[in-house]
């Protein structure tokens, strides 16, 4: 099949990105693009460089070589403020200031648009309200962060990232501490927003079954290298996964929608 050339420009373009911690190479020559409305999942064993990728795109780490562009702008040549207007990170809900209200937390997403003193204008208030209502957290606006459940806190952080009003959204294990219901709630929301707002979404996920259900494409990282990039069906195969994770496992079609369904295939210990 042939595609018409360049009808859709990618929002995020990563080229030959190499990141080191001192001598150790954490990411080797990574190149990938994300299109508007697309959700890319980054998978791989612990220490493969998934979080490093998020950190190096969000300016926490600087790459040794290579480049990353968002809508043509070099991520490493712009100020933190400007970067925060193009790329928002949804971290794991940990170590949050518990006494902050939900409203105050989401409003902090407007930081790149506010002055040094944090003075707001009506647009900031409007966007904050929209982000809260879009994540279903408007009724919680007056509550304190510490009073919320893990799933609610995760949605507040998603709302904060939406308040940042960026074309790119990076999520670092957004479902790490959530139960089944909240896992799909959060991921459904992310996918919906990606399509509706035409965002480029990159999310680090550990649960391969969630990846198969919620990602358009999958990037498999092993030891800092990009081993595979493609649709879930292309990437989530027994041979690739066994090589990457070094455990026996089985992949069968999901009973209702045919996406890959993974379960560990070792022997049960008695």
């Amino acid at each position: 099949m042939t595609y018409p050339e360049k009808i859709v420009q990618p929002i995020l373009e990563i080229k030959n990105l190499t990141v080191c911690y001192g001598e150790r190479i954490a990411l080797k020559n990574i190149s990938l693009n994300i299109l508007p409305g697309e959700t890319l999942a980054v998978i791989g064993p612990n220490g493969a460089g998934k979080t490093t990728l998020v950190k190096s795109l969000s300016g926490v780490l600087h790459p040794k070589s290579g480049s990353a562009h968002i809508r043509g702008q070099d991520v490493y040549q712009i100020s933190p403020t400007k970067r925060a207007k193009t790329l928002a990170v949804v971290p794991q809900a940990r170590n949050l200031p518990e006494s902050f209200s939900v409203w105050q937390t989401v409003l902090i997403g407007r930081t790149p648009y506010l002055g040094w003193l944090g003075q707001t204008d009506p647009r900031d208030i409007e966007r904050t309200r929209w982000a809260l209502s879009r994540t279903g957290m408007l009724d919680f606006a007056e509550r304190r962060i510490g009073e919320l459940s893990g799933g609610e806190q995760q949605r507040v952080l998603l709302a904060r990232a939406l308040a940042q009003d960026t074309p790119v959204l990076l999520l670092d294990e957004p479902t790490a501490h959530l139960d089944l219901r909240h896992q799909s709630l959060v991921l459904n929301l992310v996918r919906e927003l990606a399509l509706e707002q035409q965002l480029a979404v990159m999310m680090v996920l550990h649960d391969l079954n969630l990846v198969a259900l919620f990602a358009d494409r999958v990037a498999l990282l092993v030891e800092g290298e990009l081993r595979a990039l493609g649709t879930p069906i292309e990437v989530i195969t027994p041979s690739r996964l066994m090589e990457a994770y070094e455990v026996p496992l089985q992949v069968i079609p999901h009973p209702t929608n045919g996406t890959p369904f993974i379960f560990p295939g070792g022997q049960k210990l008695n």
């Binding site: 926490v60 790149p112 944090g118």
Partner: protein, 338 residues
């Protein structure tokens, strides 16, 4: 935004100012006090119906003392609030993290030099205290955050170590020196032994500059509560914000310490009370701590002057007596997180 907290702390400060100026060995009634102040206004001519000694007591002793204590309390509480936000730690306080001791060392060093005739006037003292304060906060920060472990224990232990070291050097300098300085050991406990307007004039620019800059950092401190990594991802220039906060908080602390000695716990208690009463937003917390700190130290100072009158206690003794139990209470309240 609700303005009531500002009114409450402002009225409290006015009351504390009047009480401080009125009370002492000689009581001057607030009515007389106001008349005396009014008589100094340009264009007001008033027949004085108060004893002549009142003039000296009020304008040469009480007012400069009151002003110095108020400025000190404001500086300590505002910088305490800022350090708590910067370290993301409810126990950070200029005294507990050793900044006050570092400033004290700097100040005493300058005083020794002054005694030897190598420095003149009071103006070098706050500068030396500032250098001492910045050096200490740097050392404590490096010790406590070297491995990115943000635990209260390491912060407080680093503060204790650095503080003991600085205090030991300070005591050594004081004991070795002769004359005036040797007798001013009470200064270490926060006895405002300096009199007259000179220390007020010397301290004011530092405290105004330090607190003024500090008041602009409220939003940055709010963002920093999510940790430095997230703060950077939210578009804050983390290094710039941190430097500005350390600079201004240390400047305010240093000026306070240079002229009134080491006064503990005001920087711990006041921001805490403000946080409990009116929430954690640093844009409000800093100005409210400033006003509250001035009032609290004025009242503590009043107690120190009246408790064993005619003898005056160093005000640091009062704040420590009130502050240490408060410190333990916070430890107990946060025991799960520490």
């Amino acid at each position: 935004m609700n303005n009531r907290p500002y009114w409450i702390t402002f009225l409290l400060l006015l009351a504390a100012l009047v009480l401080s100026a009125a009370n002492g060995a000689v009581f001057i009634s607030p009515a007389t006090l106001l008349q005396m102040l009014a008589s100094k206004l340009p264009g007001v001519s008033m027949h004085p119906d108060w004893p002549k000694a009142f003039e000296v007591i009020l304008f040469q002793i009480r007012l400069p003392h009151t002003a110095l204590v108020a400025l000190t309390g404001a500086a300590l509480a505002a910088s305490g609030g800022a350090y708590q936000g910067l370290f993301r730690n409810p126990l950070a306080d200029p005294y507990l993290i050793g900044v006050a001791a570092g400033a004290g060392l700097g100040a005493v060093l300058a005083m020794v030099l002054r005694e030897q005739g190598r420095l003149t006037g009071l103006y070098g003292v706050p500068l030396a205290a500032f250098i001492g304060a910045v050096l200490t906060v740097g050392v404590v920060y490096l010790l406590a955050y070297r491995h990115n472990t943000e635990t209260t224990t390491t912060l407080i232990l680093a503060g204790v170590a650095v503080s003991s070291f600085a205090t030991a050097l300070t005591s050594y300098l004081m004991l070795r020196s002769q004359g005036e300085l040797r007798r001013s050991m009470a200064w270490l406990f926060g006895g405002a032994t300096l009199n007259g307007w000179e220390p007020v004039v010397a301290a004011t620019p530092y405290i105004l500059l330090g607190s003024g800059i500090l008041l602009t950092t409220g939003h940055a401190l709010n963002v920093l509560q999510f940790g430095e990594e997230q703060a950077g991802q939210l578009g804050l220039s983390v290094r710039k914000a941190k430097s500005l906060i350390i600079f201004s908080a240390s400047l305010a602390t240093a000026a306070a310490v240079a002229f009134t000695g080491i006064i503990g716990f005001i920087g711990l208690i006041i921001p805490h009370v403000v946080r409990i009463l009116w929430g954690p937003d640093y844009r409000r917390l800093l100005p409210l701590s400033l006003l509250g700190g001035a009032s609290a130290l004025l009242l503590a100072d009043l107690l120190a002057r009246l408790l064993l009158a005619p003898q005056e206690l160093p005000v640091g003794i009062i704040t420590s007596l009130a502050g240490a139990p408060f410190f333990l209470w916070i430890l107990w309240r946060n025991r799960k997180k520490i």
